[in-house]
Symmetry: C2
Subunit: 190 residues, 2 copies
């Protein structure tokens, strides 16, 4: 299967991401012929969590300060508690995420990952879901929240938790391969 | 020093609370002659975090399902990431917290602890602070947020992180010893 061939996805993450929420979509993208790159404010490696326990470490492919959103077709922000908690107070991370929205590129986020989108004020008026504990925060940020396994809204794909990964990966691949939505492209000169 | 003599504080917490944010205020209350009781949806013991690492375990004094807010003069909700994340989706925990507000009793919360107050819709119109990452969520929930070491608003004492504990404990003891605010008591028959 190579329907995602030529597609490059940036995975924005730092220490404390939920391991399956990075590993599983990354595999799905690669199995479909695409490429996924870990972009992080950390240099070298980042360490996963498996809920409250530590998980494996993963190589950082591109340091956030050197990452150019124009190099990627889509953005993935996994959850975990510590990962979005750190990213959402990192101005560079918020700008990086915002650039994908500005250019109407697909954005995929699961569990606590959408907290980053709240801090970047990117969910106002959007249909989303997220981990149960942050659904109130998403609503308060102006999102239309539904408690479903996966919500797709114009290229924005969100899910609630690792149990939703199959549905999340399926919709993520659909949106990735579809690319930017017709009639919604802004000026993308790059 | 016994200015808090006879004062009983409920500490609402579960696994993954930030150790210093429970230990330090608990010691401050006890050193001032008061009593502090760990109230938890867990039975037996709860385990702290020290940021991403595990911390010590602490005895649960009262199971949440058996805890009566009328038995306490004030409520403390420590932070940590996993602790409020679990409590804020626990209806019993939200009701327990709300009862202290209903009866105008002092409430103390630090770091990510105020996430519980967001989910219980208890910060609307209140002056608060919290960990930097959740300040946006507090604002979106209708709070007036200030980035200061400690904010006191009519018996509600909030702080940002463990570095603020000295200021937090000082104001917490002031409010605990002051008790309910004159002119703001609702009917407290118990």
């Amino acid at each position: 299967m190579s329907r995602a061939e030529g597609k490059r996805v940036a995975i924005l993450a730092t220490d404390g991401f939920e391991q399956s929420e990075l590993e599983s979509p990354k595999s799905a993208i690669e199995n479909a012929g695409g490429e996924a790159f870990v972009v992080s404010p950390n240099t070298d490696r980042i360490q996963a969590n498996k809920h409250r326990e530590h998980g494996d470490t993963f190589a950082v492919d591109v340091h956030l300060s050197e990452a150019d959103p124009d190099d990627y077709h889509a953005l993935l922000i996994p959850g975990g508690l510590f990962n979005p908690d750190a990213l959402r107070i990192n101005e560079e991370a918020l700008k990086f995420a915002a650039s994908f929205f500005d250019h109407k590129k697909p954005v995929f986020s699961i569990c606590h990952g959408p907290q980053v989108l709240i801090s970047a004020d990117l969910v106002r008026g959007r249909k989303v879901t997220g981990f149960k504990a942050i659904q109130r925060d998403l609503e308060n940020a102006g999102a239309v929240v539904r408690d479903e396994a996966v919500i797709v809204d114009d290229g924005l794909v969100t899910s609630r938790n690792p149990d939703d990964l199959d549905a999340f990966n399926e919709k993520l691949l659909e949106e990735l391969c579809e690319g930017r939505h017709e009639g919604q492209d802004k000026s993308v000169a790059a």
